[in-house]
């Protein structure tokens, strides 16, 4: 089935937390083979359920967003029982590494990412794990990858959680630059969704951030 017309042999791209990613040729196109691996610490039934449902959600959403013309890898092939997804290989550095290198392009990319995330939200999808290592800076703009934790939702609460997770990941990986990075991200987001909506979203984000923070108070109420 696999015709090797693209040069080079298969290459290990990443040993992620849940999947192994290999770059190889699929139907003559440079592709990513993403295989979700079994976790021996989980109950087997739970493991099967998670691998299947995440592969399914990722494949569905990649295909759907791509049809809407958004920058996500094209879907080539799926095998749910094997937890395998084959998708387009996106050439380019991770946004995270671009920021680490202090590239001047970084802020522009954050704005583009803000626009992309807003368009994903507009399509009724939340990503569930937006981090700078899930963004590839391709030749024709930024690409969002890793939709395994994504879901369909238009609820303000879910959109805000998506933004909250991104903000926290920027705080923990790019602390010194967080203000500028987030400002550009929100600027891009507001371009697509409008200022009013973005403001109301940010109020919700604040509310979510407070929740995790009041655990001490919760413990006191519960008693020890």
């Amino acid at each position: 089935m696999i015709k090797s017309t693209c040069p080079g042999s298969p290459e290990l791209i990443a040993l992620g937390a849940e999947a192994v990613l290999v770059k190889a040729c699929y139907e003559g196109m440079p592709s990513i083979f993403k295989v979700r691996v079994r976790k021996p610490y989980r109950d087997r039934g739970l493991d099967t359920m998670l691998i299947r449902s995440r592969s399914e959600v990722e494949a569905k959403i990649l295909a759907e967003l791509r049809l809407k013309g958004l920058n996500v890898p094209a879907l080539y092939y799926v095998d749910l029982s094997e937890g395998l997804i084959v998708m387009e290989f996106v050439e380019g550095p991770l946004l995270r590494d671009l920021i680490y290198r202090g590239s001047e392009k970084a802020l522009k990319c954050l704005e583009e990412l803000g626009e992309l995330v807003a368009s994903v939200h507009d399509a009724g999808v939340v990503h569930g794990d937006i981090t700078t290592s899930n963004v590839i800076v391709g030749g024709d703009g930024v690409y969002l990858v890793d939709f395994g934790l994504a879901k369909y939702s238009r609820r303000l609460e879910d959109l805000a959680t998506d933004i909250h997770l991104f903000i926290r990941s920027v705080e923990s990986t790019h602390y010194g630059l967080k203000e500028a990075l987030l400002r550009h991200f929100m600027k891009g987001y507001a371009k697509v969704k409008g200022r009013d909506f973005t403001d109301s979203l940010l109020i919700k984000v604040k509310e979510i951030r407070m929740r995790g923070r009041y655990v001490e108070e919760r413990r006191v109420r519960r008693g020890i």
Partner: protein, 340 residues
Amino acid sequence: MIILGIESSAHTFGVGVVRDEPPHILADVRFVYKPKTGGIHPKEASQYFMSNAPEAVKEALSKAGVKVRDLDGIAVALGPGMGPCLRVGATLARAMASYYGKPLIPVNHALAHVEIGKMLFSFKNPLIVYLSGGNTLIASFSEGRYRIFGETLDISLGNFLDTLARELGIAPPYVVSGLHQIDRCAQNGKNFIELPYVVKGQDVSFSGLLTAALKLYKSSRAELSDICYSAREIAYSAIIEVSERALAHTGNKEVLVVGGVASSPVLRSKFEVMSRLRGVELGIVPPQYAVDNGVMIAWTGLLLLKHGVHVRPEEAYVRQRWKLDQVDVPWLARTNSSGS
């Protein structure tokens, strides 16, 4: 360098004495307030602390075989915790520091849980997984502080286990001979039932799981043991998953598990499997030091004083919600875990 440390953030009044050379721990005295009914009453606890504080300090000094004048500093937990309780320790520490002219060292209670664990395992720069009744968070050091990578979006893991056990009618007591009632009840579970598994990025959420498990129980459509087993598997697996993801992202080579829930042998074995797979070293703080104590405050105070951190007595005020990511950690400043 010899430091005396005072802990009084919740139910334990602890006084520890430590030294910068081995054996580090010279004294570890604890007075634990046990409420007569229900939960902790901060006022009652603080009265209990006040009546035992002088005795605790005297006993710690005599066990350590030192006089107050031999001390290089007085460390005290100023938060997070309950105001009335924290104030007992703070008042005593302020008085001792000004009367004897010793440096007063403000210590964050959560940081102390982390630092005592690092000392016990000789860890340099671990990923922190903090699982207690009040906290569920994952942190890693970067740019001068522990940064929160993930936390619970609603209730803590300990709170989840305790509430589930109580509502299923199998607790209190919550923990019997080192095994949580949920772990015990799960021992007879054989069938995995699908219940909500919620991981969002690096965050977990347990309230949906709790509600679904209780609903299933009330419907009598499943065995109690299967409900315990499935809920437990989901909750623990979610914690291991976010820990593993954090390891993949930060590149930390050590994992330190802190807090009461780390005593679960089931959770421990899951952490062991995951750490072996990822090739990282695992340290699970043993129950003796996982609970509140004065030694961890003294030890963290020692590290802080070595880096010049101390305050004037009038500046040593209590901060009930002082978070781990608000504390500067100068002894790690040269290492950086970002980038994998």
